[in-house]
Structure formats: structure tokens, C-alpha cells
């Protein structure tokens, strides 16, 4: 089974011990075919950082952010990449169409688009990694607003830094939700030393221990 299929099944709540039904696999294949027609768009830029470990705060660009989780994530880095990616208007429309036609297809499409977006971000991160390796810099894993105590309200700044509304049509609502909904923003710290990041992964950082999607 491909990695993306495993991810889709994880989002759908299937555990390793429970194999998916044939008709669910068929529906996933259909959704993947449709999703492949989307054009993910992304944009990224680089920002300087400054850590204050005592205060659990990091200055990103001109903005001080208080978050012990992010401080732990970024400490040791000399700067950060900030990126924004979206499956666009069409991703949202596709999801709504599926939900209207058939709710089962709707939830499968929802999982497919989420996995598809993550996969395209992995590809982007590989590119960035190569570009930075040439400068002798190493990347950490991605870290997004909303992980642990890293404030979701930072989305507005992320979109300003990346000019995402104009460049890729990604915006944020009053309540800090990304719109279109199938979108991601993330930071990727970089440092001159190859070292293991001490931050918790996105699932480990989350307090919801009963979440159906928690990585096993």
C-alpha cells in the first residue's frame, strides 16, 4: 500500500489492525483520481528569528511570539522558512460537491485532500531542503500555528509575511481559520548543525489523547 493511501485511511479512522473494505478502497481510488486534477499552490519566504528561552518567546521577523512549544522547536535554529500552501477554491468546491452527492464520498474526499496536501508539502520541503543544503544549512520538520501552545492567531502574520492572499489566494477568517479550508501554513527552522529536533511531533504536542486520528 502506498504511503498516501495509508495516510488517507488513518484520517478515516482505520487502525493498523483493521483492514479497509474493498468498496472504501475503490472510493479512495476515485477520490485520488479527482484530487490529482487539483493544482496545489504554495509560497514561502525566509525570516530571521531571535529566541528568548527564559521567557519562552521567539521573535519572528518583527513579531514576538510567546510559546514554549515553539521556542523548544526553534531553539538552535538561526532562522526560519515560513510557508503557505493551498488546494485552492477548487479543492473546497470539490469537497462540497462530493458531500452533496454522497456523504461517504465526502468524508473520503476530505481525507484524500488532507493527505494530498501533506504530500505536496513534503515535496516542497524536499526542494527547500536541497536549496538550503547548498548553503550548509539543515531543516527541521514542519511546525504549524495551532500545534501545542503555538498561537493560531499567528496565521494573520504568516499570510502577511508570505503575501499569500495575493500570490496564492489564501486568506484567513476572523476566527483564524484558513480559507480555502484545504490549506496549510508552517514554519521550518534551519540551523547550521545537523541535529535532532527536540520538539514533539504534531500528534505528541496535542492534548487531545482520545483523538481518532492520533498517530499510533
Amino acid at each position: 500500500m502506498e504511503q498516501i493511501e495509508r495516510e488517507i485511511l488513518r484520517y478515516l479512522g482505520y487502525k493498523k489492525a483493521s483492514p479497509p473494505e474493498e468498496e472504501v478502497l475503490c472510493a479512495i481510488a476515485e477520490c485520488r483520481e479527482q484530487a490529482a486534477r487539483l493544482q496545489p499552490r504554495h509560497i514561502w519566504t525566509e525570516l530571521p528569528i531571535q529566541c528568548n528561552l527564559e521567557k519562552n518567546a521567539v521573535k519572528i521577523g518583527e513579531e514576538w511570539v510567546h510559546s514554549s512549544d515553539f521556542t523548544r522547536y526553534i531553539s538552535g535554529c538561526i532562522g526560519t522558512v515560513v510557508l503557505a500552501a493551498t488546494l485552492g477554491w477548487e479543492g473546497d468546491r470539490m469537497l462540497r460537491e462530493c458531500s452533496v452527492r454522497d456523504m461517504a464520498k465526502g468524508v473520503i474526499m476530505q481525507a484524500t485532500l488532507a493527505a494530498y496536501l501533506e504530500e505536496s508539502l513534503d515535496g516542497l520541503q524536499e526542494q527547500i531542503k536541497k536549496a538550503y543544503a547548498e548553503k550548509g544549512l539543515y531543516l527541521r520538520s514542519r511546525y504549524s500555528p495551532g500545534y501545542g501552545d503555538f498561537p493560531i492567531s499567528l496565521q494573520k502574520k504568516v499570510l502577511e509575511w508570505t503575501q499569500a492572499p495575493k500570490r496564492i489566494g489564501l486568506t484567513v477568517t476572523e476566527s483564524c481559520m484558513l480559507s480555502p479550508t484545504k490549506s496549510v501554513t508552517a514554519f521550518i527552522g534551519f540551523s547550521p548543525r545537523k541535529e535532532k529536533c527536540v520538539a514533539k511531533s504534531k500528534c505528541q504536542a496535542c492534548e487531545n489523547r482520545n483523538c481518532a486520528f492520533r498517530e499510533e
Binding site: L47, G61, V100, G106, I108, K157, G169, V172, S179
Partner: protein, 795 residues
């Protein structure tokens, strides 16, 4: 106005980038450029002056993002100052025929249904900028860098309704000539022309090379002067900075080629400097302006698709119309918009190019319903729509909110009709269906109908509506009441096309009224009409006979390249007709639901009904037990969400069969208690709520779905109005749980007997208790069990 006069007979020059120049002058990342109107007015003026010196004639004020969403109460003042600074620069320069454009960019937010900004709020935001800009002395309004057709529509309407200034409008395209929304160049041209822009074009996003590739499409469709304001190349990130690579000479050479091809307003966007503009003006200044030619294409569009009427025959789906359709009537009465949208999708699947939308029923508020139906349809379906109403009030509201250039059904030769409909088409744009009847009725001869069509086209012209935006309906009459009825209509179609050069349309099915096997006559008549040059037909795309006639015609007339469409449609073997279910297959409905097989479940339900089984028995002995088994499996962790929903959808298809059956008998299915569902204010994720809805409906509850991003007041209002005992609220994030809490507080005050169940990604039992919810649904089935417990239903 001098600007418009110059536009008639000259090539005009816009200025170049403001943002790039400000960054060079020290503007920091994240700092708002418009703040510099207050803090660094002299720098702004210097930039304007540099562009005037370079030979630019239209200055764009430093007001791009000076809207109330980004700048709050300072917005109006920021616009006034920005325009005043440009005005002063022009005054100091002292030469004639230089103009100030009040520059307006997008809000930076997405409009509903994708985002959370309403059309009206977007309109108000732009209107404030327009008024401030005109008052401060702008000569024109420049709408630029828009990506969304609906947002630029709000801005353009705001400009037209709040000032007398000319409007120039430009949007960002990608290298394939598409907006971020997916709209193409013909669609954008159709929309902006229809709304009354004075010059239209492209800016930002791409460099001059790519603009050159896209310009021919603009020139092919636009009857207005075309603007090209490219970036100085494609943006590239270097050391975290955005840089542009095209040097002034190369830029100027490219702009010259575009001017020679017919672009009439030239300027620059990101990365361009006075040096770029100076080089450009120098070589373009003495070029002769190419005339702007009136184009003849009849275009209808949605937010992402454009249909040209007149190329290939167009199919307009007729099914969204309550006339003679019981299920559609009931869906409209019950505000079941999912049903309406599904009818739209069905027609799209069958090959419709445009959908007619008629929601007129005596007992409903047609205007409100039309607005809601259009909104829901446009959230899901990308086909252009034909707004079908006899009420000018309904038409106006719908045309205003519609995303794209709509079809309007219809106007007639009656004076009253033309006086009501033409001003709307002239204002909002649109392609209008013109019925060949007037105060004296429907003429019996082709010549008579031609005369009315001629009158309509002439009258339309006096409102500024071009013949290309009129599609004439020569009216299909019933052959059984007059034997030459079909012949007259066909003759009229040919005559009207020949004499007036307009497009034609017919509703077809009327021809066979009163005769058996109507589809035979309808399809035959349709083929004859197509041969006479019929451009569009309003038909049922699900009718096999009509679609056969359509594809057959295309194949025979050389309109189907390589017979692709024909072969694709008809090469597969006939699908076998499902065998009649026998009484022995008594377990099949139960099994079909258990296995999640939609078509089989519907088929089995029909078989039971045909055998005379009571609907209530089918529900209680087959459907509900199967749902219970699946639900229990889900609870125990042996069935997963996709499978649970497949069963739910299978059950739903069986319920629909039962509902139709009861309706034929003049009965309605008894429903259980009403339950309101809503995703709370600020929250635009509704998949969880939609899952719960499907399940509750399966268990017979009457779900009132208020949608997503629903304000507290609205939920309370509906709870009181419908006297509901149970409300389900969904929220995805901590930021929106706040609205969940305030909704619960308001509900508890206004309707203390009403229980509230909550669910959503961030919620936990603790969190639910904390915000005062009566029940926390940890998963989709939990809400069903809670409702059953609350209403004392056991299964």
C-alpha cells in the same frame, strides 16, 4: 470627461510599481504602504513625480489596501490622503492630460461561500473607498490585482453606484490565462463589460512575456480598451527577498509589441520602476492606437466556466423548476436545498451546459429562495445559470449576487416587460432571453414573430444592450392544436437568425402536448430546430431521446471532432436492465443497507412497494434494523466512518423511493421531532455537521440545517420559530468554540427547555461541560442515540 475622451483616441500610460519603490525607500516587510500617506507624504509624492517625469499619464494613488478591513477607521482618511498626494504631484507637474486613478485592491479576504466575507460587506468596504477617492479629486477608479470575479463585481458595482467616475479594472491571471478561481479570459471580459467598466485588462502575477501570450485572447473578446500592467518578470525569491529580473529595455520592447497588437493602456506592476516606464513611453509614445472593435460573441459565465452561445448548440437544463414536479415543489417548501443542488448535478452529469433556475411557488418568498438557491448552486456547481423569474425584484436581487454573467429568462415584446428587464440587464450585464410575444399575444406567422424580435432588439439598443446579448425565443407551440405550429416556429427561428443576426433559443417540449409518446415528437422537433440554426434549447438533459437527438446532430453536422462525444456516449454496450426483484429476495433491502449499496437499496425498496408492502413496515422491519446493526458496529469499533455513511446513504436512497411513492398517493411521510443543526459563527468547516445530518435524517428526524458560519441570533430565532427541543452545534477550533459558548448562553435564556448537543474536533466532555452544553457527541452516532433518548424513541 477628458479621461474618457483621451481613451477614445490615444494610447495611455499608467505608472509602475508603488510597493517596489516604497521598499527601496525603506518600507519594512509587514508594514502597510498606505501608512506612508501619513508618515512619509514627501516620499509618496517623489515617487509620483518620478513616474510623471518618465512620461506616465495616469498615476495610481497609494491606496491599494486602504480599506476598512485592513486599516479600520483610518481607511477613509488614508484614501483621501493618498489621492490628494497624487493630485498634488499632478498639479506641481503642471502639464495637461495627466490623471489620478484612485487605486483599489482586493480586501485580502475571501467572499462567501468559500470564505467568510459577505458580498454586501465587501461592497460597503469598496464603496467607502470610492466615495473618499472621488471626493479627494480622483479622475477615475482603478480596480486592480483582483483574483476573484465576485469580489471585483462587488468593487465595480460599488464604483458605479457611488461615483460618476470612469472605471478601469484589471485582474491577475496565471500563465494558462486563468484566475485563481479558474475563470478564463472570455469569462472575465464578459463579466466586466457587462457591469459597465470603461477599460479592462490584466496586471501583476506574470511578466511581459507571458502577458504577450495572453493578450490575443483579451483582444479577441473585449469590446473595451485593453490594459496591460505586467510585473518586471516572474517573481523569484533570493535570500528571502522577492526579486524581478526583466530590465527596462526588454520590458519596453515587449510593451511595444503589445501596443502594436492593440493594447491601449500600458503600465507596470511589481518590480517595475520609473526607468522601465520611461523606456516604455519613449518607444510607444508615437505609436498609432489601434481601434477598439465591437465584438459579437454571446458569452455566459460562472465563477469558473464560460459558455459561448452560437458556437455549438447549447443545452440548458430545465429541471430546477417546480412546475409539474412534486418533489421539487416539496423540496422548495421545506428549504431542502441539497435536493435542488443534486438536481443540478444530475443535469450536469447528463451533459447540460447551463442550468435554468426557477423557484416560483405561490406560498414561498421567491426572492429569498432564489438568492439562497443561487448561492448553494454556485457553491457546488460550476455551470453558468439562467435566472428564470417573472418578477423584476427577484431578477435584480439574483443578478446582483450572481457570480459571473448570467442568462436572464426572460423579457417579451410587451412594453412593461422591456421597461422592467432592460435596465437590469444594462446595469448588471447578462444575456437575455427574448420571447416573441407582446400586448397582442403570440403572432401566428413567422414574420409576425420576427417583427416582435426586431422591436425587442431595437428597444434593447436604446438601453445600450447589444444584439449579442439577446437570445430570441420564437416560441414552441403545440402541434395538436394547430397543425402548422411547428413549421411556423421553425421558420421563425431561421428568419430571425438571418434578418437580425441574433442567437436563438427554444423550449422544446411544448410541441408534443396532448399527444402520446411525447419524446418522439420532442426529439424530432429538436433535430429540425437545430438544423434551422437553433443555438440553445431548454430541455431535460436526463431525457435519453433528446440527448440522442443532440449527439446525433453534432455527429452528422461535423460539430463533433472525430466523433469523440458520440463514441464516448454510445459505444458502450447497453447497460442491462436490472431484473425485476422477486418476493423471494425479502432480505435484500436489509442486506443492501448493511453493505452500503445505494442503487440496490433503492431497487429493493421499489420492489417491496410494488409487492404491496406497507411503507412503515419496510422502514421498521428492514431499514431501521440494518441501520442499527451498522451503528452498533461503529460504536464498537468494527465499522468505520466511511462504511457507516455508505449504509446511511443506501438507506437514504430507499427512503427517497418511499417518499416518492407516498407522494404519488397524496400522502407524506410522518417525520419525528425537529432538530436544528448549525456550524457556529466564525466556523467554515461543515463536514462534521453534514455527517450528523445524514444520520439523524435516516432515523426520521426533521433536520433544519442552518449551514455554516451561523450567527447566534439566527440560531435562537430559528429555535423559537420552529419550537425545537434539540439543537446540534459544531465547531472545529478553540477560536470558534467561543461562539458555541455564546450561542448556548443565548439559547438557554431565550428557550430554556431546549437541549444543546455539541461536537467537533477540539471538543471534549470537559470542554463541553465548561461551555454549558447538555450533551457532548464524541462521534456521529452519539447524536442519534442522544436524540432517541431525549425523545424516548427506541428502536
Amino acid at each position: 470627461m477628458p479621461f474618457l475622451e483621451d481613451l477614445q483616441n490615444q494610447i495611455m500610460f499608467f505608472d509602475g510599481a508603488m510597493g517596489t519603490m516604497l521598499q527601496q525607500a525603506g518600507l519594512q516587510a509587514g508594514e502597510k504602504p498606505e501608512e506612508w500617506n501619513f508618515t512619509h507624504p514627501e516620499t509618496i509624492q517623489e515617487i509620483h513625480t518620478a513616474y510623471l517625469r518618465a512620461g506616465c499619464r495616469i498615476l495610481s494613488s497609494n491606496t491599494f489596501g486602504a480599506n476598512s478591513i485592513k486599516m479600520g477607521e483610518r481607511a477613509g482618511e488614508a484614501v483621501a490622503r493618498g489621492v490628494a498626494l497624487a493630485r498634488q504631484a499632478v498639479a506641481r507637474w503642471g502639464r495637461p492630460n495627466c490623471y489620478v486613478a484612485c487605486d483599489i485592491g482586493p480586501t485580502g479576504k475571501l467572499l462567501q461561500p468559500i470564505g467568510d466575507l459577505s458580498f454586501q460587506d465587501a461592497y460597503d468596504t469598496f464603496a467607502q473607498m470610492v466615495r473618499a477617492g472621488e471626493k479627494a479629486g480622483a479622475d477615475l477608479i482603478l480596480l486592480e490585482t483582483f483574483s476573484d470575479t465576485l469580489e471585483i463585481k462587488a468593487a465595480l458595482l460599488a464604483a458605479k453606484e457611488n461615483s460618476k467616475l470612469p472605471v478601469a479594472a484589471t485582474m491577475i491571471f496565471d500563465a494558462q490565462g486563468k484566475l485563481l478561481t479558474g475563470a478564463d479570459i472570455p469569462g472575465v471580459v464578459a463579466l466586466l463589460e457587462g457591469l459597465g467598466a470603461d477599460a479592462i485588462g490584466m496586471n501583476c502575477g506574470l511578466g511581459p512575456d507571458q502577458f504577450e501570450m495572453l493578450l490575443p485572447a483579451f483582444l479577441e473578446y473585449s469590446s473595451l480598451p485593453v490594459i496591460v500592467n505586467p510585473n518586471a518578470g516572474m517573481p523569484r525569491t533570493e535570500n528571502g527577498q522577492t526579486v524581478f529580473d526583466v530590465p527596462p529595455e526588454t520590458y519596453a520592447a515587449s510593451m511595444e509589441r503589445m501596443a502594436r497588437r492593440g493594447a491601449r493602456l500600458l503600465g507596470g506592476c511589481c518590480g517595475t520602476t520609473p526607468a522601465h516606464l520611461e523606456a516604455m513611453v519613449k518607444i510607444c509614445r508615437d505609436l498609432p492606437p489601434l481601434p477598439v472593435i465591437q465584438k459579437k460573441q454571446t458569452l455566459v459565465s460562472s465563477y469558473s466556466k464560460t459558455v459561448e452561445i452560437g458556437e455549438k448548440p447549447v443545452i440548458i437544463g430545465e429541471r430546477i423548476n417546480p412546475t409539474g414536479k412534486k418533489l421539487m415543489k416539496q423540496a422548495l417548501r421545506e428549504k431542502d436545498l441539497t435536493y435542488v443542488v443534486r438536481e443540478g448535478l444530475m443535469q450536469k452529469d447528463h451533459g447540460a451546459h447551463i442550468l435554468d433556475v426557477n423557484v416560483g411557488l405561490p406560498e414561498i418568498d421567491e426572492k429569498e429562495m432564489m438568492d439562497r438557491v443561487l448561492f448553494e448552486l454556485q457553491s457546488v456547481i460550476d455551470l453558468p445559470l439562467q435566472i428564470d423569474s417573472s418578477s423584476p425584484r427577484v431578477l435584480e436581487s439574483a443578478l446582483r449576487a450572481y457570480n459571473g454573467k448570467a442568462m436572464v429568462n426572460s423579457v417579451s415584446g410587451k412594453r412593461e416587460s422591456m421597461e422592467a428587464v432592460f435596465p437590469l440587464v444594462a446595469k448588471y450585464g447578462g444575456v437575455v432571453v427574448a420571447l416573441t410575444l407582446d400586448e397582442n399575444g403570440i403572432p401566428e406567422t413567422a414574420e409576425g414573430r420576427l417583427a416582435i424580435a426586431e422591436k425587442i432588439v431595437r428597444t434593447a439598443a436604446s438601453y445600450g444592450i447589444q444584439p449579442k446579448d439577446i437570445v430570441v425565443d420564437a416560441l414552441t407551440m403545440t402541434v395538436s392544436s394547430a397543425t402548422d405550429a411547428a413549421k411556423v416556429t421553425l421558420e421563425a427561428v431561421g428568419l430571425i437568425k438571418e434578418k437580425l443576426g441574433v442567437r436563438t433559443i427554444l423550449g422544446v417540449s411544448n410541441v408534443s402536448f396532448g399527444l402520446p409518446q411525447r419524446e418522439i415528437l420532442n426529439a424530432g422537433f429538436y433535430t429540425l430546430a437545430l438544423y434551422r440554426g437553433l443555438d440553445a434549447a431548454i430541455i431535460n438533459p436526463a431525457s435519453e431521446a433528446m440527448m440522442r437527438a443532440y449527439y446525433g446532430y453534432l455527429a452528422l453536422m461535423g460539430l463533433d471532432t472525430n466523433f469523440d462525444a458520440y463514441i464516448n456516449k454510445f459505444s458502450q454496450a447497453e447497460t442491462p436492465v436490472p431484473a425485476v426483484q422477486s418476493a423471494n429476495q425479502a432480505a435484500s433491502l436489509y442486506d443492501a443497507v448493511l453493505c452500503g449499496l445505494k442503487a440496490e437499496a433503492a431497487g429493493a425498496a421499489k420492489a417491496y412497494l410494488d409487492l404491496g408492502k406497507e411503507p412503515l413496515k419496510i422502514i421498521n422491519e428492514e431499514l431501521v434494523p440494518a441501520l442499527d446493526v451498522v451503528g452498533k458496529g461503529f460504536e464498537e469499533g468494527t465499522v468505520f466512518l466511511p462504511k457507516l455513511l455508505m449504509s446511511a446513504e443506501a438507506a437514504k436512497s430507499a427512503f427517497e423511493v418511499i417518499k416518492e411513492h407516498l407522494m404519488r398517493l397524496g400522502k407524506t411521510q410522518e417525520k419525528r421531532e425537529k432538530i436544528i443543526l448549525a456550524t457556529v459563527k466564525g466556523d467554515i468547516h461543515d463536514i462534521g455537521k453534514n455527517i450528523v445530518k445524514v444520520l439523524l435524517e435516516n432515523y426520521g428526524y426533521d433536520v433544519i440545517d442552518l449551514g455554516k458560519d451561523v450567527a447566534e441570533e439566527k440560531i435562537v430565532e430559528e429555535a423559537l420559530k420552529n419550537q425545537v427541543q434539540l439543537i446540534g452545534l459544531s465547531a472545529l477550533m478553540t477560536t470558534t468554540v467561543l461562539h458555541m459558548e455564546s450561542t448556548i448562553q443565548m439559547l438557554k435564556k431565550a428557550k430554556p427547555d431546549c437541549k444543546v448537543m455539541v461536537g467537533g474536533a477540539v471538543l471534549t466532555q470537559e470542554y463541553a461541560d465548561q461551555i454549558g452544553a447538555d450533551f457532548y457527541g464524541k462521534d456521529a452516532m452519539a447524536s442519534v442515540y442522544y436524540a432517541q433518548q431525549l425523545f424516548h424513541h427506541t428502536t
